[in-house]
Subunit: 191 residues, 2 copies
Amino acid sequence: MARWQPGTRERLQATALRLFQEQGYDRTTVAEIAAAADVTERTFFRHFADKREVIFAGQDDFLAMFIDPIADAPADAPPFALIARSLDSAGHFFPEERRPFSRIRQTIIDSEPSLGERELAKLATLKVRLGEVLRDRGIGEPAATLAAETGVTVFHLSFQQWIAEEEVRPFADIARERLDALTSMVTATAL
Amino acid sequence: MARWQPGTRERLQATALRLFQEQGYDRTTVAEIAAAADVTERTFFRHFADKREVIFAGQDDFLAMFIDPIADAPADAPPFALIARSLDSAGHFFPEERRPFSRIRQTIIDSEPSLGERELAKLATLKVRLGEVLRDRGIGEPAATLAAETGVTVFHLSFQQWIAEEEVRPFADIARERLDALTSMVTATAL
């Protein structure tokens, strides 16, 4: 077995996902994943804390994708413009070549309630972090929390649509459509 | 022990909440609740499926509070006006005399992760039902789902504020403030 190879982490991820899909998440062991990827278990654990984390790896990058564009925005940008920046940035995290992976990942998450809870916890963390970053910019309450919650809702609905069967539009277009729909909806009531 | 008394259900609820608070949710049994409320266990189970359901009783009424005012609305009401109607209606479900109960209930939910998950599931059901009811009125996607998700977010944030320590304003005022904040936020970006 190879001691170290470039791309080991990605190979472990692809192998784990294939095994989860073929034989079920519960019935797949770390030993099987390591063997099928031609590495030792020790190598597996150098990359991932456990088999669940194969599916949730990259959470720091995921959070940074939303947070960084807010940090770089002009000081007087209104909260919803900041959310729109975050969602545009999210488009880079979900390029076309990631879509098949994201679809398979979702079927695995849907098959196992504890994975669904972990995914919800990830979105809850994102809401909290976004709210903090908006408050750090001097945005008050309830605007900061509302913007954070609404932004994550729009992200989540856009992501669900992006991985829907037969959907072909890029993530950024889908997110923009939802932001626009929210704007017209809220404006229509205000009339 | 009394076989039947008016208000047995309410007495069981109040007793259960007191015991959960005093000795912990986990360490409280149905037998203890029944004894402290001066009824048999059989009577307890005539009112509640298990001790968890004491905390989540009334879910049908809770859903109806959001759904019914939408059914009664004029056919051409825009989606966000329907959500505003739902939230106004919610005010009747959370009158002042309910606030102390809601505060204690929340501390118990916060003490036990499985109760927190049950509460989230309740809100998820509300999102699904609201989305259905909006689609039944001919509101398309993504507007229907966005309105439902945003409405539940505004409800949840309003409820959290309503039970916050030192908060004295009625639920309807807090919800209206959040709806207005959302409207100004979204409108400010549109400029």
